[in-house]
């Protein structure tokens, strides 16, 4: 395994509110990292800083060994074109899917390939169909998003991100907006990706998913990583009271015997 993502001393403030207070993290290629934490702990903000949906206030991010941005006068500077190119290399899936409503499923999955990567349409279409097949929705290619269930929409959103051949995938509470019976199909898709060797960071409340799929679990509290470790140990025997409380709060969480 080789290092794919390195985060050093990541800080993010919104006005006076400091949400991230110095995060250090190294992610290996093929790793599945799950971020846990209560609301306001900074887990979503951390994820959104990695592809610069939010610009970090301080700190450095390296993708595949290259530092993002340039350091000048003790501060990191980012050019918009550089950030666009970076975002094309990192896939992101959102809680509310955010599909493009005026495009068919197929067009949704082709859009970034054609407009951002400049792929020829036939190639983009083949690629899109392959990814739709991967998430089990090839037969919905000509439908509009409004005709799909929540779970199907989210799988299309995953295919849309995958079609860009991302080096890392970010999942931001992707099952939180779904009906309980639709959560499974989305988690199954993500699990398959993990088994295929995709590098992933997932913010989720699905502790069962964390337990079975993650290589590593991070517990964020008030803008710092309070605990981290293998899910089998950290979820069963948390070291801090804060994390114990958090786990107890998730009544759905049942450990296998």
């Amino acid at each position: 395994m080789s290092e794919i993502l390195r985060i050093e001393n990541l800080h993010k403030s919104f006005g006076d509110l400091e949400v991230l207070k110095g995060i250090d993290l190294t992610v290996q290629s093929g790793e599945t990292v799950v971020l846990l934490g209560s609301s306001g702990s900074g887990k979503s903000t951390m994820l959104r800083c990695l592809n610069f949906m939010e610009t970090p206030t301080e700190g450095k991010i390296h993708l595949n060994g290259e530092l993002i941005g340039t350091e000048r006068g003790g501060r990191m500077r980012y050019r918009e074109a550089e950030l666009c190119a970076l975002r094309a290399r990192i896939g992101m899936v959102f809680q509310h899917f955010n599909l493009f409503p005026h495009m068919t499923v197929l067009e949704n999955v082709m859009e970034g390939q054609v407009i951002v990567l400049g792929r020829a349409k036939p190639e983009a279409q083949d690629k899109a169909m392959a990814q739709l097949d991967r998430v089990g929705l090839a037969e919905k290619a000509t439908e509009y998003p409004a005709r799909l269930s929540g779970g199907q929409k989210q799988r299309v959103a995953i295919a849309r991100a995958l079609a860009m051949d991302p080096e890392v995938m970010l999942f931001d509470e992707v099952t939180s907006a779904l009906d309980p019976e639709l959560v499974g199909e989305v988690l199954k898709t993500i699990r398959q990706l993990a088994e295929d060797g995709m590098t992933m960071l997932c913010v989720t409340h699905e502790l069962g998913f964390a337990y079975h799929v993650a290589n590593r679990v991070l517990f964020l509290h008030e803008g710092t990583i309070l605990e981290q470790g293998e899910p089998q140990s950290i979820l069963k025997a948390p070291a801090t009271d804060r994390m114990s409380e958090f786990l107890e709060g998730h009544s759905l969480f049942k450990l296998p015997d």
Partner: protein, 221 residues
């Protein structure tokens, strides 16, 4: 009050009216394209985060939205040539007045449409590596424009009727020609009634057509 309607004189002068109708349609096509097209540019500029772009756009909108079109047309015909040395004719003065006013109004319609699109759509475009301009053009505007189509239709109808204001500087259009017929035949009631009927007959089917267009565009919603 009884009035003996006599449309025979109108029909006899049909070629005169026909010239006017052609003039109306011509100035309508020019002003609606310039007005709604230019409005899109001003509306997008108005939405811009850069104050160097949004502020002039805002100033433009306020100036042309808060002055009467009739005054603008007269101003472009009489005042503009003296102030700038650039000659205007009735057509140019009317095109400027109507187009600029329409740009100002439609800019606000487009801006409202852009603002109505959720931030999540911007984020979705951004997340796959699209630039601001690409997201705007490919993701935001197609949905925003579709959403404000009824308001734009209203503007279009307004532009068609505003074309009659061009008669004030002597541009040859329907109202101008009706006045000519009325002056020659002493039949103002029939002449101006004919103008109203002509506008209705032209506009009504066009508006029905836009409803069909809206329904067709609603696919996928």
């Amino acid at each position: 009050m009884a009035h003996n309607w006599d449309f025979a004189t109108i029909l006899q002068n049909w070629p005169v009216l026909w010239v006017g109708i052609k003039g109306t349609v011509f100035i309508f096509v020019i002003t609606v394209v310039l007005g709604l097209g230019g409005g899109l540019i001003v509306g997008v500029a108005r939405y811009s985060k850069s104050p160097f772009v949004s502020w002039p756009a805002r100033a433009f909108v306020e100036v042309f939205r808060n002055t009467p079109v009739l005054v603008q047309i007269i101003w472009f015909y009489y005042a503009f040539p003296i102030l700038t040395g650039i000659e205007t004719d009735p057509f140019l003065a009317a095109v400027l007045g109507i187009s600029l006013n329409t740009m100002a109004f439609s800019a606000e319609i487009y801006r409202a449409g852009i603002q109505s699109i959720s931030r999540a759509q911007w984020e979705a475009g951004k997340a796959i590596g699209m630039s601001y301009n690409q997201t705007l053009r490919r993701i935001i505007l197609p949905v925003a424009v579709k959403r404000v189509l009824p308001a734009l239709t209203n503007r279009g109808i307004e532009v068609f009727k505003m074309s009659t204001l061009a008669s004030v500087v002597g541009y040859v259009e329907t109202l101008n020609q009706a006045k000519l017929i009325s002056d020659l035949n002493f039949n103002p009631i029939e002449s101006y009634t004919a103008v109203a009927v002509i506008f209705f007959v032209v506009l009504y089917p066009v508006v029905q057509g836009t409803y069909v267009l809206e329904r067709m565009l609603r696919k996928g919603d």
